[in-house]
Amino acid sequence: MWRYGMGMGEPRMTMATRAVLTALIAKPADEHYGLEISDAAGLAPGSIYPILIRLEQCGWLESRWEDIDTHEEGRPKRRYYRLSQKGAQSASAALAKAAGRRRRKPSALRPEGSAE
């Protein structure tokens, strides 16, 4: 059973959030567990949970428990995350917007009238 977020607002696009979203957008239909996401995003394992929680609250992520027999597999059930439909659309737009902002920043710091 997928757990949907509460559909609140838009998350702050910090560098770590962008890294997580970029990792998820690379394979938007796939499910990933926490360790996979932190590996793909190049972030320290265990440090991405505030981001996952925030993205889930915004409705950009869906999560579900893995459906396995723990005795047969010999390991506990993992929690899998994937981008929701809303998340896939909004994340691409938010990442593009954030990239645009970053590109504009250096020129904004230049004194007025200075040559390009």
Partner: protein, 158 residues
Amino acid sequence: MTERAAQTRSGGLSAERLLLGFMKVAAEDFQKRYDRFPDPTEWLEEVNCNVFLPGPVSLPVLETVLDSTAGRAAFPLGIGSVGIQIPDRRIRSAERKISLALLFFPAVERAHYRAEFTAEMDEMNHSAASQFAANVLLKAPISGIHMRTAKIFGRQAT
């Protein structure tokens, strides 16, 4: 003697748990002294050294207790395999960090996240698990704030 005591006590259940407790203590003591897991014979000797045990235990009794539901839960690898899996100091430290981190989370979410973190740590080696738990602990206050603000105000804190 212990077998008889085990059989006479309340259907064997509490005696079984008592023996499991002795076995766990014996295994932990052995590991502290020799820095390795005891083999079955050493384990049996160690259990029988316990002064609180009413009498000596035999290997078949140990095997029977280990084969019970509680025994399999406490010692999943049993007596004849590579040894007893006792969480080492780094694993215990990781578990403590996770428990501490979960205090920042709303009570209703704790079980869910404990299961999630445990599953993540399951495939890591001890030092990686300890590092993972440290990162979870470091980020736990902000995770807790996100969860609580969403619940209280129905919107995200920015």
